[in-house]
Symmetry: C2
Subunit: 285 residues, 2 copies
């Protein structure tokens, strides 16, 4: 018998295929909501505190109140993880504008927890790197992890047509982020640089900055398309992708056109950091 | 016994309180969807063809396929209207990105029809006019009626604090639209002007342009904040609000600070046009 996956909808544990929202919800009516996505290994959510910090911040930016206090939300996440018993998974927390009476004004928010199995990028993909296309765009309210991904989703087709695997957003040549990832370059002098303004402040981005700072100069500041042309290496960071080398932007080969040594080194460091977090958690448990 | 209101969810007529979408829907996951909203008097949808044109256009801009052909959608609207028997109502058609497997790529769209009673602005509100605040913003993909209203909803609180009843968007002083309405001014020489770029092309806007053109010069073109300062009159148009005079923008009184004669005249003309449409429809029925 297949193991049934569960979800949380407003503090009720329900089989995932029965997790519904009424159509008056402001996410459906007006695209109004925020979310968070963290990674679990053997039911242990990694760097959970950071994800929760950002979840409550995003909610506050949209003036939505998370219906659970932080400790109660952690218990809900743990309960769901225990029930679903997944080896490696992603936990999505969605907070919507709620069942609006007039279809416009926010109401009591709905909170949903969804868990799904997660396949992390294999060694092969990391060694190959990816190509990305550039696109002039800035997310609305970039500091909040809102559910608005219209531009990213609309670009999926063009992306594939152009043989790109992701999109790098910029405004007048100043780079910000990818739809679901942060962006880094390594300069010729080995300085690791990542944009700091008009971006979502990624948890993996923060971890990678700390790892990089142990060995290299790091800078949080403006990165232009021209900086990428001059860079030795480039890579993205995200919860589900960890670190992926970027070897080409549009028609421009980055560095030597293959994953660079610093990117690969940081990628290994990040995996070790995750393993250490997991080990620490298991000791404390 | 209260009369139960019905809704359509994917071609199934269901009691409105049982109209649900699964949380994997791309509207909930990624704010990805479009909608339309038309007005019905005594079960007759006014200017339906225009609304349907725009609905299919919005869907195409998001590369979503409406699961019903135009004639079948009209039948669905009529069936629902007959069932709900509302005197004056709004019919919302929502088309979402569907139940996405990976929470990002669009799937088979979900189509929802929702009907609700509608209260049109009374004579008193029209004679009083409204105050609006300005805000620098342009909707993403303005030609499509997408569900993304994050900025408008986030401004609700500030709006109330400042005593404004709506928001006028502009970019570098070039005016576009209100979150849910189009914008017009009347120049000192009685020319009726409305922005034509980076806006949603409203059905009421189109009707008002035609009505105005019978009596006054009309221009579809750039309107700046400075043009508003110089204008005699200003008003908004929308399906639910018809024409509402705008008498103040931020701290600036427009014209003489009360609804102008051309605005009020067009308001009456619009009501007569709607009555004529209704009468025509009833004769043909």
């Amino acid at each position: 018998m297949e193991h049934v996956q569960y979800a949380y909808v407003n503090q009720q544990l329900v089989p995932q295929d029965q997790a519904f929202l009424h159509v008056s919800d402001l996410a459906i009516q007006r695209g109004y909501g925020v979310f968070e996505f963290c990674k679990l290994h053997q039911q242990v959510p990694l760097f959970l505190e950071e994800y929760l910090d950002r979840f409550y911040q995003s909610a506050a930016l949209l003036e939505l109140v998370v219906p659970l206090e932080r400790e109660a939300l952690k218990v809900a996440i743990q309960t769901l993880a225990k029930r679903n018993r997944l080896e490696v998974s992603g936990m999505k927390m969605i907070l919507t504008g709620g069942y609006s009476i007039n279809g416009y004004a926010p109401a009591t928010p709905n909170l949903i927890l969804l868990q799904q199995p997660l396949t992390l990028p294999g060694e092969e993909q990391v060694k190959k790197g990816i190509r990305v296309m550039s696109h002039a765009y800035m997310r609305e309210l970039p500091l909040a992890k809102t559910i608005n991904y219209m531009t990213g989703i609309r670009l999926l087709k063009e992306m594939r047509k152009r043989g790109a695997e992701d999109v790098l957003y910029h405004q007048q040549g100043v780079v910000t982020e990818l739809p679901r990832c942060n962006f880094f370059i390594v300069r010729q002098d080995n300085t690791v640089v990542t944009p700091s303004e008009n971006i979502l402040r990624g948890i993996t981005r923060k971890n990678v900055l700390q790892l990089a700072a142990r060995k290299y100069p790091v800078v949080e500041g403006a990165v232009t398309l021209e900086d990428i042309a001059q860079a030795k290496e480039a890579f993205l960071t995200s919860t589900t992708k960890r670190i992926l080398p970027i070897v080409q932007l549009d028609d421009m080969v980055i560095g030597e056109g293959r994953p660079g040594p610093i990117t690969l080194e940081l990628s290994e460091d990040l995996i070790r950091l995750e393993e250490a977090q997991l080990a620490l958690h298991k000791q404390l448990d």
